[in-house]
């Protein structure tokens, strides 16, 4: 527990919207456009927080609580996630299970809020979301299990702190597999191409967008902010596998931030180079991610 550990969640809350900006700028670059400014997400959040909200008469408190609970869960999850060699503020044995469940609870309340609206449109998005979650969550847990087995630790901080120079030998295949699996899960959970197109406006193709369609103003602001936090958390899990250790803890934090930005650029590249998968294929992709993680788990049984 040091200064970097405390600074990390703060940095995440403040800097996460930059990730969205980086992705959009990369996509614009590939498309030959200028693209929105890097800080566009901040401007959007500022605009949203100053607007007034309209609530439908069919909704209940769940609809208003959904985005808030989601945001709260993600904040709590932020305290558990390390960024490479930067320790998390709260680290204890089994915190990886708590992390998975916090993300799950956030998802549950988002879905509940979507269903609370009473429209079949949001219901369709909710059903797709949970279907994908059915495949994605076991994959995540299997991957974390592989990591735990390999590093002989049950706390995320200890697992990610394990790797440094000489330890590379022998774990390269496992790390590559886990990176692949986690990256696919990262794309799936953050609703990126090839799982879901964040820019789509076509009814039949929306998944996450349609769930939050009826939220406005402050609620939608929290939804967007929460999305950036989720990207930071899952991105930290992917990038943390490869971050080198520096001597100063603040240096670790800086390296982590740079790594996350790099991941955002890579995501932008992936989004620019691929099209969205057919809906039938997404479970196959997620099963593929699960298989990669399972293969990694099997490699740890030496």
């Amino acid at each position: 527990m040091n200064a970097a550990s405390v600074l990390h969640p703060l940095l995440a809350v403040l800097a996460a919207p930059l990730l969205f900006g980086a992705i959009n700028r990369t996509k614009a670059f590939f498309a030959g456009r200028c693209g929105p400014p890097l800080l566009q997400t901040y401007f959007d959040l500022w605009k949203l927080f100053r607007k007034g909200a309209t609530y439908s008469r069919t909704t209940t408190w769940i609809f208003r609580a959904g985005p808030l609970v989601n945001f709260a869960c993600l904040l709590a999850a932020l305290t558990l996630v390390p960024l490479g060699h930067v320790a998390a503020p709260l680290a204890f044995g089994g915190d990886l299970i708590l992390l998975a469940y916090l993300l799950g609870m956030g998802r549950f309340f988002t879905v509940a809020a979507a269903l609370d609206v009473g429209s079949s449109f949001e219901g369709m998005g909710a059903s797709r979301e949970v279907q994908f979650a059915t495949f994605a969550e076991p994959a995540l847990l299997v991957g974390l299990a592989a990591l735990a087995r390999e590093t002989q630790a049950l706390s995320l901080t200890a697992m990610y702190a394990h790797l440094s120079g000489p330890a590379w030998n022998g774990v390269l295949p496992l790390w590559a597999l886990l990176t692949g699996g986690f990256f696919i899960l990262f794309l799936a959970e953050n609703c990126r191409i090839p799982v879901d197109d964040p820019n789509t406006h076509l009814e039949l193709t929306m998944i996450h967008e349609v769930m939050v369609l009826d939220h406005g103003a402050v609620d939608f602001g929290f939804v967007q902010w929460g999305a950036t936090l989720k990207m930071w958390i899952l991105g930290a899990m992917v990038v943390g596998l490869w971050l080198p250790e520096t001597r100063h803890p603040l240096g670790n934090l800086a390296v982590g931030a740079v790594g996350l930005l790099a991941l955002a650029v890579v995501t932008g590249i992936v989004e620019s180079c691929m099209a969205r998968l057919r809906l039938l294929r997404v479970p196959q992709l997620l099963v593929g991610a699960g298989v990669l993680c399972a293969l990694g788990l099997m490699l740890t049984f030496r």
């Binding site: 593929g288 298989v291 099997m298 490699l299 049984f301």
Partner: protein, 217 residues
């Protein structure tokens, strides 16, 4: 060097899994070619003693045969039979993948039970070889088209070859070449028969080749 062999073996398992989940014949043939090329590297990496040209000949021959010749034969059969390019499985792709993971776990378990001779370059060799053999067998059984069955046969031979190539350095060169030649001839003849099947039946759906069944009593 150990790391490289491990990486190749993991890549081999990945190609097997992709084969299990592949839905387009063209892609499956490409993956098989990649498998063949990777296998060609194994003898060179695992070379421990004896003349280097032995390993070069075997690895090079295997790479050329499995990376270029077999895919060319299969693609030619694909073109000439004008088949529908989907694979049409009996067992769905997701189910195949999941069963594959189960088989992979079994291969690891079985590989752990066999006491390894001292000089194997990697402990993941036996499980990988067994899993590739299993993948080939599964493709033969659980896929409809005759071409996919030939694919499965080549995949099976790949697995056996991988096991033999590295487990054994005492296999005489002549026998290995004989094996390669036999496999080549087998694939060649199979290609011809597939062509004949298409000419005779207008399809290459081996599931429909069921005229020779026992009549119900």
């Amino acid at each position: 060097m150990n790391n490289t062999i491990d990486l190749i073996l993991v890549a081999l398992v990945l190609t097997d899994l992709i084969l299990l989940g592949a839905s387009r014949l063209r892609n499956a043939i490409r993956i098989l070619a990649a498998q063949g090329l990777m296998l060609g590297l194994l003898p060179l990496l695992a070379h421990r003693g004896g003349p280097i040209w032995h390993a070069l000949l075997l690895g090079g021959g295997s790479a050329v045969l499995k990376g270029f010749v077999f895919p060319a034969l299969l693609n030619r059969a694909l073109r000439e039979t004008n088949a529908n390019r989907e694979i049409e499985p009996f067992v769905g792709y997701v189910a195949s993948l999941l069963i594959g993971v189960g088989a992979l776990a079994l291969s690891f378990w079985f590989g752990a039970r066999l006491p390894l001779p001292a000089a194997t370059p990697s402990q993941w060799l036996v499980p990988t070889g067994l899993f590739t053999v299993w993948t080939g067998l599964f493709l033969i059984v659980a896929r409809r088209k005759a071409i996919t069955q030939v694919l499965g046969y080549v995949a099976m031979e790949n697995g056996i070859f991988a096991l033999g190539m590295v487990l054994v350095e005492a296999m005489p060169l002549l026998v290995e070449l004989g094996v390669l030649l036999d496999v080549f001839a087998a694939v060649f003849v199979m290609g011809i028969i597939v062509f004949q099947i298409n000419r005779e039946f207008d399809h290459i759906d081996s599931d429909q080749l069921s005229a020779l069944k026992e009549d119900a009593p």
